[in-house]
């Protein structure tokens, strides 16, 4: 594994160096041209450090940034992918500092390594806006844009408790262990469960945010012989996996399934009544809000420290409204 990792990071490093070399020469070109036309009309360059281009939800967030960037003719955004490696993200932020971008939008890979990245930007006097993932010391950044993960867990579990009438056996399906969203959403779930004496967690496992793994985990749980009244999942993909396993076993009618994210796929399951609850985290809103705040900060305008993008509960009653959002 170490060996493999080292190779991957070497290859990525090589690509990154090439990328930066190309990026630098391009930038020099554009600034030369604008210099001829007018000195004032300089492009605002924003560096956006994203943890994982492969992640579906984050791709919607990136869409939000891209859409907003299109409406801003004087803004150029450079997107980089850390491939879920905090170390790689740190060097990417350092590269942004070297490039002297006008502001940085950071979605941290994890919440432990993020403060150091904020420090790097602060030392270079470059505004840095943290988006989506909150951590201790985030107030050192120029601004934070996002939602509070724990509230998603609370909102999701409260709705499930309502459906179950405040009693029943709960199975919690975790995302990748140790990630902020997994820890906080599950914490939110358990906070609510504690309030109901007749509700308890009978099973808990991880399916690493993945549909196929969620399906396998649910199949195994169904074979455990334990009575399950609700499956509360950290995200929608795993919840859909659980639904498919329950359907195949003919037990979907006995079990309430809840997810988080309200992805387009998940909304179809809500519409058909198979997924009872999901929570909408406004991906595009966070992306747009993050970039908007960064541009303001780059231009020296005053920005709010904390910008909360609220969660919204999605059930069969209001699902149509959310289906429209993705279209």
């Amino acid at each position: 594994m170490m060996f493999l990792k080292r190779w991957i990071s070497m290859v990525v490093l090589l690509l990154l160096t090439m990328f930066i070399a190309v990026g630098c020469s391009e930038k020099q070109q554009t600034s030369g041209q604008t210099g001829k036309q007018s000195g004032e009309n300089k492009k605002v360059v924003i560096g956006a450090a994203l943890p994982d281009f492969d992640d579906k939800w984050l791709s919607y967030l990136q869409d939000g940034m891209k859409e907003y960037a299109k409406t801003q003719p004087d803004v150029e955004v450079i997107y980089v992918d850390a491939m879920n490696d905090a170390n790689k993200q740190l060097s990417q932020v350092e590269n942004f500092v070297q490039q002297k971008v006008d502001a940085i939008v950071l979605i941290p890979v994890d919440t432990v390594s993020a403060p150091e990245m904020v420090d790097k930007a602060n030392q270079a006097n470059i505004p840095i806006v943290v988006v989506n993932r909150i951590f201790d010391g985030v107030d050192k950044a120029t601004a934070y844009v996002g939602s509070e993960s724990i509230k998603a867990g609370v909102m999701q579990m409260e709705e499930v408790a309502k459906i179950l009438g405040g009693k029943g056996n709960i199975a919690i399906m975790n995302g990748q262990m140790g990630q902020e969203a997994q820890i906080k959403r599950t914490e939110g779930n358990k906070e609510v469960i504690k309030k109901y004496p007749n509700m308890k967690v009978v099973l808990e496992g991880t399916a690493e945010w993945d549909r196929a793994k969620g399906m396998s985990l649910m199949e195994n749980w169904l074979n455990s012989g334990k009575k399950i009244d609700a499956v509360v999942s950290n995200n929608d993909e795993m919840a859909i996996g659980a639904i498919m396993a329950l359907e195949a076993a003919g037990k979907l009618n006995d079990v309430v399934v809840a997810g988080v994210d309200a992805t387009p796929d998940a909304l179809e399951y809500v519409k058909s009544g198979k997924l009872k609850v999901t929570v909408y985290q406004n991906a595009k809103g966070q992306g747009q809000g993050g970039l908007e705040t960064a541009i303001k900060a780059a231009k020296g305008e005053k920005v709010e420290k904390f910008n909360w993008i609220p969660y919204e509960l999605v059930t069969k009653d209001n699902v149509e409204e959310y289906i429209k959002k993705w279209q």
């Binding site: 196929a212 399906m215 749980w221």
Partner: protein, 332 residues
């Protein structure tokens, strides 16, 4: 199990009379991992009353079918002293491409299957050709394919899952014939075909010959380059097949599917007695290896072991199993 092993055993037989002690060690040698699997199954049956039911056992094999199919291809690659790291990413690429041809009322169900298999085969042939013609280490070539295929999968799907698949296509992953899930039937079929390929054909003999001593194989007149392209092509084809089964099972083409599957497949092969130094390995062993991983995953879920402990236990069990196996090899 392998021709290598049987040759070794035959040599021993001619040297000395067969003592009962030797007979025991030979049985251990041949079926050591199978015994560990049976031991695990017995242990789990005591710990969880619902473990040893037909439903659950079918469930375990079905869950391991995808990784098992990949592992069979990887085993043959490893026997030639190669490695294939691209399997997981090829699964994802095949997954999104096949899914986009599997919407209801567009193409008949065999179109996405053939396209998926063809695409898998293509990636494997590319791997094999670069490895044999450009003489670049398999590790590097397949690492490149791993990155490129994942990128291609994301590019093709715009990073999003592709849903809305036809019922006939979904049958491959979700259907059952006479109560046996289709993925298990496909897995068994691949096992039988690969066993025949490896043990009853010239191809199989050459695979072991290349792994045993590539230089000697060249001198003996084996067209090593050609057979390497076959071997990687076959592994790619099986990754493609695994991608189709996975896509059908979860009713959606996922660009993020199959992450780390290549490592599970390599683990299954190595647990099953395949030597990373080449020349040694069997299809039966790899299937047992895959089932050991499957039984662990399932048993730990049934027992509701905390996700943190599950990872530690899996690591320990894999290492201990291979350790016991290697001790046994040294003794005999």
């Amino acid at each position: 199990m392998s021709s290598q092993v049987s040759i070794v055993n035959k040599q021993k037989k001619s040297k000395s009379a067969v003592s009962s002690k030797e007979r025991v060690s030979r049985i251990l040698h041949k079926y050591g991992m199978l015994m560990i699997l049976i031991g695990l199954i017995i242990l789990m049956s005591f710990l969880s009353p619902t473990f040893l039911t037909t439903g659950n056992l079918l469930n375990i094999v079905r869950q391991m079918s995808v990784v098992g199919i990949v592992a069979i291809g990887v085993t043959i690659v490893i026997i030639t002293t190669g490695i294939d790291l691209s399997s997981g990413s090829v699964i994802a690429l095949v997954s999104v491409v096949a899914a986009s041809f599997a919407h209801p009322d567009t193409y008949p169900f065999f179109v996405p299957i053939l396209i998926g298999l063809g695409l898998g085969l293509l990636t494997g042939v590319i791997n094999g050709t670069i490895i044999s013609k450009a003489k670049i280490a398999p590790f590097i070539v397949t690492l490149g394919m791993m990155t490129a295929a994942r990128g291609a999968a994301l590019l093709f799907s715009d990073g999003r899952p592709i849903g809305n698949l036809s019922d006939s296509f979904k049958f491959i992953g979700q259907g059952a014939v006479f109560g046996i899930p289709v993925p298990i039937i496909i897995f068994a079929f691949v096992g039988v075909i690969s066993y025949i390929l490896l043990n009853k054909t010239k191809f199989g003999k050459y695979v072991y010959a290349i792994g045993g001593n590539e230089h000697a194989a060249i001198i003996a007149g084996v067209n090593v380059d050609k057979y390497k392209v076959f071997v990687y092509g076959y592994a790619g084809l099986l990754s493609g097949l695994a991608g189709i089964v996975l896509t059908s099972r979860i009713s959606s083409g996922q660009p993020t599917a199959g992450v780390m599957y290549e490592l599970d497949a390599i683990a299954a092969a190595v647990i099953g007695g395949t030597s990373l130094a080449g020349g040694i390995g069997t299809i039966g062993g790899t299937i047992v290896g895959a089932l050991i991983i499957g039984v662990m995953n399932n048993g730990l879920d049934l027992l509701n072991v905390s996700p943190y402990w599950q990872q530690i236990l899996k690591g320990v069990i894999i290492t201990v199993a291979v350790f016991i196996d290697s001790r046994k090899n040294r003794k005999s």
